[in-house]
Symmetry: C2
Subunit: 268 residues, 2 copies
């Protein structure tokens, strides 16, 4: 099943737009808990509450090959009906991007990935050509520095009316011939989120930044959710994974995930 | 020794601005040759001809953990006086970038890395704070799609005079408080290379795109090299690694590297 259909089914089954970010940070995890063991407990506690999971590969790379083995085991452990988005923000020239695709799509078999737009279309094409997978292009990210470039006004000489993130969204919409592209827009910038959702009502949006990063739930739902409620992914990582730092971490994560899912649903 | 000093020493010792890109592609390598074995032979044949090596991590990730073990062995095998730049084009929000830094700078101990500017300053700061390492920010990349965003005119509404890649260069120059930043500018765009070098005569430039990608050597040298000839890195990968596809690949790589180094030096 292709990524978009799988996402819609999981959203509907679990009545959820919540994505749990599987970002293991040893300093925040209970002592003597292995990464896979930690993820497994989190997945067991949240699998009926989410529309997707999103591991950020950086946290696994930081632990060397042992970390990447835990990533593979985690991916394989996640129930087959829940899509897994690898947050990797890759982007490179063509023959190199093919190598990244072999790793993320062929070896790990992720359902979707995040990618950076800076190198332009040909740097994304090898990902896009995996028609049954999703590719979320960074548009307006959730961090403070996002404005450094993403909010600059751009265009052709003498005709500049849009900000860079708007042009990225416009181009991605144009490149979306297989219907497998989406955008990353942070919950921390509600005006920008509103603008993107209004312009692209059908575009899958991956929305990080609620919770620890400060994005509010009511505004995120009001501005970000699509009409069918099947193409919006609201991600939370730290608020759920580290709801408790003790041995009851999984139970606490389940509770935090349930509360966040229900809180999102309340505003729908 | 910090990256900039190490680069200058290696350039001077080997009278070379050539960087060999260690991008192993099984389909192009001689049969039954392991990745580390291949790299080791290439390094043995070229270590007195280069100012740096630049593995692109994608090609190793594509081979799973075995590939990443070969990357670690390759990094450890490279003579200590030659800097190694990992081409990873990373960029993410702050706590995630710290995880990438732990992987690339602490675990692998690379001397320098490439990073993507799209997320802005705070997405790069954790890399920049490793003062003895180099960070090359993507500016004008060597691929065809580079123009999609990098050549858009940007600025404030109604006051637009520069293209995005120029603004990236300007910001990176402003962020360079520790003197460890550089820019990636492709040899395939000589006018842009000329403009960047003229504006930032002291900025380390990593210049990919000569050879297989079509960048000419004479123009690259004329427009890209700094006055001291110690802050310019001209990368070639495929033209050297795959000069021969037979058992004599290392000898052929050594010959190709020598010719390219000498050809660069001829135009200095």
């Amino acid at each position: 099943m292709d990524f978009i259909s799988k996402l819609a089914k999981a959203s509907q089954k679990n009545r959820s737009l919540l994505c749990v970010g599987l970002d293991p940070e040893p300093a925040l995890m209970p002592e003597k808990t292995g990464v896979f063991e930690f993820n497994k407990a989190i997945i067991d506690a949240t699998a009926d509450l989410v529309c997707a999971y999103k591991p950020n590969i950086a946290f696994y790379e930081a632990m060397g090959n042992e970390g990447l083995e835990a990533l593979k085991k985690t991916r394989d452990y996640i129930p087959k009906d829940i899509p897994v988005i690898i947050d990797a923000k890759r982007g490179d020239i063509g023959n190199t991007v093919k190598a990244y695709a072999r790793s993320l799509f062929d070896y790990y078999k992720f359902d979707a990935m995040t990618a950076s737009p800076y190198l332009g279309y040909d740097s994304l094409e090898p990902f896009i050509e995996y028609r049954d997978r999703g590719v979320f292009i960074l548009c307006r990210t959730s961090n403070k520095g996002a404005a450094d470039f993403q909010s600059l006004y751009v265009g052709k000489e003498g005709d500049v009316k849009k900000m860079l993130f708007e042009v990225v969204a416009e181009k991605v919409d144009g490149w979306n011939k297989h219907g497998n592209l989406g955008l990353v827009v942070g919950a921390t910038y509600p005006e920008e989120l509103k603008l993107i959702r209004e312009r692209y009502p059908q575009m899958p949006l991956l929305i990080p930044g609620v919770g620890a990063q400060g994005g509010g739930i009511e505004q995120t739902v009001k501005y970000g959710v699509d009409r069918e409620k099947t193409k919006t992914i609201i991600n939370s990582s730290r608020q759920i994974l580290y709801a408790s730092r003790g041995r009851d971490f999984a139970e606490a994560a389940g509770k935090a995930a349930r509360e966040l899912r229900d809180s999102i649903n309340k505003y729908l």
